[in-house]
């Protein structure tokens, strides 16, 4: 019984939240890694691209809520998501037209594109705050829990409860679907293969008649979709605040690099590695340990290795360790 209680407590506070957070990071890191693989620069504007897509989704959600369109127990935001993706796609394509294409034509070094993307980041960041405000926005509705802690306790008779939020369930299901579709697209469609070819060897791809502008266009569309989905899921799960998305850039980059920049599989693995380490290291283990240890050994402190304030530091320690021992990341991406 004690052992079961420990497992449940662990799932409730560590496994379930980390799985949801990991999925969100993985979706974000996939966008970063695709841009890196195909456009060959680290896109610092990715966090704010997520914020922009999410903002459109939120505005649509509010409108739908006001006219009474909804999905019943599911959040209305899921209905608004396609509009968010479309808005975000329009935004990134416009940015590409106006900004990146100019630099691409000059064949500038990647580092210049990185700086350019920082400029884009600040513009997008300002735009989002200007439109929706810098504060916290709530837009989640529908059923809050798939199963509440109380229900779980009643059902199982255990002392510990396991609560699974609807948003956590939706995050996981959506992430699995999106990743599945993306991988099918990359491996089984001609466009996907062109993208992989372009990422693998740009010169050869060009001389094989692959139209680079088309590859770039499709890449941005996919990235816009990934960013909006990731941003909306994160916003549903936690809350939407433009500055939080700007900060999310750090663990997202850490995930992409840990997995190996340019490797989609790596981005997913990296997302979960980062999420699990952040959550486990900043979690107060007392609750779990109390169940597992004999009474005399029970800890009196919280057994929290680090305060949650330092969670971004965790991702960077992992990042440094991986780069020291495996510079190309877990899945052998391109060297950074």
């Amino acid at each position: 019984m004690e052992f079961l209680n420990a497992i449940v407590a662990l799932s409730n506070y560590v496994l379930v939240p980390a799985l949801a957070y990991g999925s969100q990071l993985a979706l974000g890191a996939l966008g970063v890694t695709l841009i890196y693989g195909i456009l060959r620069f680290s896109n610092f504007a990715h966090g704010d691209t997520m914020a922009f897509g999410t903002m459109i989704t939120i505005l649509m959600t509010w409108w739908m809520q006001s006219v009474g369109i909804g999905l019943g127990p599911l959040p209305t935001a899921l209905l608004a998501l396609p509009f968010g993706i479309a808005g975000c796609a329009a935004m990134v394509l416009l940015t590409d037209r106006v900004v990146y294409r100019f630099y691409r034509a000059q064949k500038v070094k990647p580092v210049i594109l990185v700086i350019v993307s920082m400029g884009v980041m600040f513009v997008m960041n300002g735009l989002v705050r200007f439109v929706i405000g810098p504060g916290d926005q709530r837009f989640a509705d529908g059923e809050r829990f798939i199963i509440t802690a109380l229900d779980f306790r009643m059902m199982t008779g255990l002392k510990e409860g396991l609560a699974i939020k609807t948003t956590q369930g939706i995050t996981l299901v959506t992430a699995v679907i999106v990743v599945g579709v993306l991988f099918w697209f990359l491996t089984h469609t001609r466009t996907g293969k062109s993208m992989r070819a372009y990422s693998d060897n740009e010169d050869l791809a060009l001389l094989s008649g692959i139209n680079p502008e088309r590859v770039v266009l499709v890449t941005w569309l996919i990235v816009a979709a990934l960013a909006t989905v990731a941003g909306t899921l994160y916003g549903l799960d936690k809350s939407f605040k433009p500055f939080t998305y700007f900060q999310l850039l750090l663990p997202i980059f850490a995930s992409a690099i840990v997995g190996g920049l340019g490797s989609p599989l790596g981005a997913i693995a990296g997302g979960f590695v980062i999420a699990f380490s952040e959550v486990t290291i900043t979690y107060a283990w007392k609750k779990v340990l109390v169940y597992l240890m004999p009474e005399s050994l029970e800890p009196s402190g919280l057994v929290q290795l680090m305060s949650t304030d330092y969670k971004f530091a965790v991702s960077f320690v992992i990042l440094l360790i991986v780069l020291l021992f495996r510079p190309t990341g877990l899945f052998r991406g391109k060297a950074v």
């Binding site: 001609r190 062109s194 070819a197 693998d200 010169d203 060009l206 001389l207 008649g209 692959i210």
Partner: protein, 260 residues
């Protein structure tokens, strides 16, 4: 077929191609020789649209193609291979070949979802064609091998195979023979001649192996220091004093090992 007019390509102060003018006649296998650093590969790069020229003009069948991007030139039937073989490492040999033809049905996002049957038909046709090419090059047993695992010579064959996937008009081969053993080299030569005769490909071949040039090429163009030095049959080129000076070398003559 291809006319290059006073072409310049400078990298800062370095003049890699320095006023080269030449003409490639349709249906020929033209050899391009010259010492290292003569500007042969740079010339290829400029013609194929990889590098923009500093000045000058390139025309193909009378049409100005100067500075067009590679994928557009590819659409016009102008192909090139690389001095150091390039391949899509993570794809199989067959997939590498199937990448080549442009404007496939599966490239349209719409078709990806709603045109499955058309894509499947086209893929089947491409697959058959790729298999045919692999058989022609006698590397059909490597069909499902990852291209990154091939040997250097096999990669060269794959490069040539790539040009056979579409109806090319003119193919620029950059040192197909480098690092390839004798037997394989002869095979490459046979393949080139056969493509030239049966499918009417025009070839321009950069090569250092004189036997290879002798077997295949007529005429031969010799470049040095970014300029065209001489043009003619290999025999004429070999007898040209300037060419001997710049490329073939006077070393043997000076040592008295051959009669002057």
């Amino acid at each position: 077929m291809i006319k290059v007019d006073d072409l310049h390509k400078h990298f800062g102060g370095f003049r890699a191609v320095d006023g080269a003018s030449l003409e490639i006649a349709e249906g020929t296998i033209t050899g391009l020789i010259g010492p290292n650093g003569a500007g042969k590969t740079t010339l290829f790069n400029v013609i194929a649209g990889v590098l923009p020229p500093t000045s000058g003009r390139v025309t193909m069948a009378g049409e100005d193609i100067t500075g067009l991007p590679p994928h557009v030139l590819f659409g016009k039937g102008l192909l090139r291979t690389f001095q150091i073989a390039h391949e899509f490492t993570s794809m199989t040999v067959r997939e590498n070949l199937m990448m080549v033809p442009g404007d496939q049905a599966g490239e349209r996002i719409w078709n990806t979802w709603f045109g499955r049957r058309r894509i499947a038909e086209q893929e089947r046709a491409l697959q058959a064609k790729a298999d045919e090419v692999l058989e022609f090059l006698t590397i059909d047993h490597l069909r499902d091998e990852k291209a990154g695992n091939l040997s250097g010579g096999q990669k060269k064959l794959l490069e040539l195979g790539r040009t056979m996937m579409v109806d090319a008009r003119i193919v620029f081969l950059d040192e197909v023979g480098a690092g390839v053993n004798r037997t394989l080299l002869n095979m490459l030569g046979d393949a080139i001649v056969q493509l030239n005769r049966e499918r009417g490909y025009t070839f321009v071949v950069i090569e250092h192996d004189m036997d290879f040039i002798e077997r295949l090429c007529d005429p031969v163009i010799c470049m040095a220091e970014g300029k065209v030095l001489a043009e003619g049959t290999l025999a004429e080129i070999k007898a040209n004093e300037q060419v001997i000076e710049a490329y073939l070398g006077t070393g043997l003559k000076n040592k008295g090992m051959v009669e002057a």
